[in-house]
């Protein structure tokens, strides 16, 4: 009787290639899901910073409506929010006007530095306004894509 034969080269090659296809697919799935989880984490922070800004705008509206109507315009608020409108603009990364295309400074200089946050206040009707629409857009950069979320709120003097 002949001694039991081992695998042939072809058999080993087929096995190894099937195994490597499996591993490549598995690693691709794992990295994709890790990337998605990272995006989710960043989205939670983005929503929080947009809500923080809307909350702050609400507080400015609560403080005094007629002063608030004077703030109609577009602002890039990438830094902390001060106790009121004036102190907010003493921070270096807060300014009047839109955020520029590259301005991903991060919110309040806290990690991760991938966000930019823009506020638009639009007066409805003619001045003096009795309704102002606010829109906050937070955009952030992932390695291969730019994401953004947008929140809206309407303020009115009769509220």
């Amino acid at each position: 009787m002949k001694a039991s034969k081992g695998f042939s080269l072809i058999e080993v090659l087929v096995f190894i290639s099937i195994l490597s296809i499996f591993f490549v697919v598995a690693i691709a799935v794992v990295t994709a899901s890790l990337r998605n989880m990272k995006v989710d984490e960043h989205k939670i922070l983005a929503v929080r910073s947009a809500e923080e800004l809307l909350e702050w705008v609400t507080s400015e509206k609560e403080t005094d409506w007629s002063t608030f109507t004077g703030y109609v315009g577009t602002y890039c608020l990438n830094d902390n929010l001060g106790v009121d409108w004036l102190t907010t603009f003493t921070y270096t990364k807060n300014k009047s006007g839109s955020c520029t295309s590259g301005e991903f400074d991060g919110i309040g200089s806290t990690s991760p530095l991938i966000y930019k946050r823009q506020l638009s206040l639009t007066g409805i009707g003619s001045s003096p306004y009795n309704r102002i629409d606010a829109n906050v857009v937070v955009s952030w950069q992932e390695p291969n894509k730019t994401y953004s979320i947008s929140l809206d709120k309407t303020f009115s003097v009769w509220e």
Partner: protein, 176 residues
Amino acid sequence: MKISKSFTLIEIIIVIGVIGMALPIFFTIILAILQQQTRIYALQEIKRQGDGIVASINNTIKNNAIEIYADQAFTTAECSLAASSYSSANGEDFFLKDRLGNWFNFHLLMPGASMASDSAVTHISLNNDKVTIDNFSISCYRRGAYTPPIVSLNFKVNYGSTASLNYKTKVKLRSY
């Protein structure tokens, strides 16, 4: 009949070497996934609880508060005059009066612990023990004689040292 051949030392060394390279990579990936999940869970938890606390405090103050005092017996009124302000570091000496003349307040139980909403008959913890709260302060401001006082609140919600979020809110005393 020839005896069946066993593995040689070289073959065993190579196999162990390959396993030795593959296992650390495998465990690194598993660890990365677990860490990421923990971070997301922590963020969701602090955001959920922070949002809940802000909503509950906002509604309670907006719907019930009529005046602000520095003491439970309502002897020292605060923010009742125009352009006056008052602040309390942990909320222990910041009392709100409701329409029925009862007091309620919001304060930090212990530094870095939890936040509570108290009145003469209730004691409600505003967060569960998964998160801790610090940097709490509550203050009020009244701009003019014809506008109601505004209460502002700051606090920070932490999930261990994994994640933390700052919360800030202002609310006007509607029933003033």
